[in-house]
């Protein structure tokens, strides 16, 4: 499950600290002292010489070497570089307060930027990690085969829905987005077998979207839900469920990371669909790009 590359990466340069903590109880007392120092501050340990570390752990160099062997390293220099690598890999967020996601009252702009971008990037990465390619594949197949694609979403998710609709439209797929609940229901009622309805709701509790999906499903259309919560109500009316992994802080911050996560999923589906028929999608994109060409000014700067 997309983990092949990850596993090797893990093997290469992460997990040592975890590994050591796990081994800790089984080590001899003197080695434990060394281990505790290493776990407490890997980066610092990496900076020390073996003599230095031995002294700090109130033991001899020999014990440090033994410790290296105990945790599976060849020797001290090897341990050192592994520790340095691991310490570096722990991406420390720009600010401790940044992780939680809620912005402290006294925050300045630099801090706000750091917080938001950190959380946004995380949401994108984590969403991708937990996304099931097999489900995506099936959804892509369904979209590709569909006579018509309806995308639903309200408020912030509405923008995402409409973005997807526009993208599909640009590569020549028949897609609709209805900002109005009545029109959406009407449209859903006209769907049938072989059509597909995609409902987007961060919380998975937006009744309008659920209702529309239900309608679509009743008419025989394939239904897809895109939500952050895999056990939310919307998943009950969906044939396929795609989830985002945005740890949206409080509702107070409004939909931020969730949108980005949703858009990432949308992009994956879009590219998947486009890849199904490269030639056609490409041609369509070229034609549409040409169409807006007159609305672009040349980048040659005029004198002020």
């Amino acid at each position: 499950m997309a983990k092949t590359t990850k596993v090797s990466a893990t093997h290469e340069s992460s997990g040592l600290i975890v590994h050591i903590s796990g081994l800790l109880p089984s080590l001899s007392p003197a080695e434990q002292r060394v281990a505790r120092l290493v776990v407490a501050d890997p980066a610092d340990a990496a900076r020390r010489t073996i003599t230095d570390l031995a002294t700090a752990a109130e033991t001899s160099e020999a014990t440090v070497i033994r410790f290296c062997r105990s945790v599976g390293m060849e020797g001290y220099p090897q341990l050192r570089i592994r520790l340095a690598a691991e310490a570096a890999r722990r991406i420390e967020p720009p600010d401790a307060r940044v992780v939680g996601g809620d912005i402290p009252p006294g925050a300045d702009l630099a801090q706000i930027i750091a917080t938001i971008s950190f959380n946004d990037a995380r949401a994108v990465e984590e969403t991708a990690e937990q996304l099931d390619p097999a489900v995506c594949e099936q959804v892509v197949d369904a979209i590709t085969a569909a006579g018509r694609v309806d995308v639903y979403g309200a408020a912030a998710s509405g923008f995402v829905a409409s973005d997807f609709q526009q993208k599909l439209h640009r590569i020549g797929r028949t897609a609709f987005y209805w900002p109005d609940i009545h029109m959406a229901l009407t449209s859903a009622a006209l769907l049938g077998k072989g059509d597909i309805a995609i409902g987007i709701s961060h919380t998975g509790t937006t009744s309008d979207v659920i209702e529309v999906l239900q309608q679509a499903r009743a008419r025989g259309a394939t239904t897809v839900a895109l939500t952050n919560f895999p056990r939310s109500p919307i998943t009950e009316v969906a044939d396929f469920v795609l989830t985002t992994a945005a740890r949206e802080t409080t509702y107070r911050s409004g939909a931020m990371a969730s949108r980005l996560a949703q858009l990432t999923v949308i992009d994956c589906l879009f590219v998947g669909v486009a890849a199904r028929n490269r030639a056609k999608a490409r041609r369509a994109l070229e034609v549409t790009a040409e169409a807006v060409q007159p609305h672009r000014v040349t980048s040659a700067r005029r004198s002020r």
Copy 2:
């Protein structure tokens, strides 16, 4: 200039490779051979002993030491652990082909997901890194003080514009978004001193948006451009320029990373504005959240 945190981070554990490449031409021939090996594969270099590396570079250990000093390191062990740290820090993309950003013809869904999320996350992070908090601050000030906020954007940037408009509206600021160019021009003509117009264009060449900003500026409004290209035409009609850092591959892939980067900037501005008047913004968000409450179903699952 946003660099305070960055500088220290750079100082600590990144940029060495870049630093070395920069220094490369100024090094002596033998040192250059060493440098090239190091830059080509830092992780590998970190694994070698000084003798090993010297041999590989067809030189003596002494030269390697000189090289260490030349790049500002104390000695070889120090260089080693720094290299190990840096190599680890470079988040290696799931697949080499993933970096470019264009999806290879035979790609499967897992690969598409990896590629897109990688590029999206990068765009977000890099945008944040190069964003100037000082300029953001001024824009936030302008929005806070503005009597009216107009946000313009076409196609994909239109969604972003409309998202921003909706967000500002939710916290009680008077904001507009016009999907129609005529209405946008009309609206811009009615702006005046103390109002603010924000134009979003990834390429910075969308004539409609430029035109509207120009109009707004002529009427005395403050103008802000959000674009990926700091020297594009749109920047000429803007008092403040905010840039994204999305290396959007080809037009073929459609706007993907660029939107996310734009949204990140928007979120920063939004939070900045909201933070100016926490109490009011919070109250407004609560009220609006309550308003849609009847449209949420409880998460209690009914039996199927």
